[in-house]
Symmetry: C2
Subunit: 109 residues, 2 copies
Amino acid sequence: MGLTKTEIYKDEQNKLASLLKVLGHPARIAILQYIINQKACICNDLVEELGLAQATISQHLKELKTIGIIQGSIEGKSVCYCIDEKVWKQFQEEFNGFFNQDVNVKQCC
Amino acid sequence: MGLTKTEIYKDEQNKLASLLKVLGHPARIAILQYIINQKACICNDLVEELGLAQATISQHLKELKTIGIIQGSIEGKSVCYCIDEKVWKQFQEEFNGFFNQDVNVKQCC
DNA sequence: TATTTACATCGCAATATTACGGTATTAAAT
DNA sequence: ATTTAATACCGTAATATTGCGATGTAAATA
């Protein structure tokens, strides 16, 4: 075990859950916030901002890249990471679709 | 290792990440959707809807209860789970605050 | 009272995640 | 040409998560 049974869920549920899972780590939230506020964009700046090893930051950046929310472009010997606006907006819609839906609270509890 | 270094992040970042982490599993998304749509509310109904063992469903329900998004009330020998509307709305705001913020896409990438 | 039903909890095995040191690569600087 | 700097990737140890069978518990029912 330790393996999620993805087969039994709808594609949408798996997709939404996997996005939320990637975002469900404080380092990745922090990285996104730094990038969004333009406090840092270069990997090495993030290493100094957060107190994590370079290998660890690189790994988190990779996961964020996997879901497409950021993209990196080589800038000399550094890499500049930015939000992919298109994907960010897709996610906004995805999350709004779920979290901003009407909750049917019948008086069963 | 394998232990997240929570000390180095802001409280808000840790909080948001931990909410997202709990929601980052398809079973928990599916459970929330069933409850929201009133397709199921009783634990045992969820066991039949999803194809997971009762122990597993119970564990996922527990995690959802931990973040307060659902609450359970004893109903004879069953337990009825419902969305906690107050908490749900708090989460909406929390998520909207993050995902609906303006993304500063400077032309660095 | 004995049995059944609906859950929660425990304990385990399998797998995943987190964090990091070490190393390879590539580009700039010397 | 060598060195330095920035980063990706690999392997590994520690820990967390997933899923489930087994067991315990409380309420309903026979």
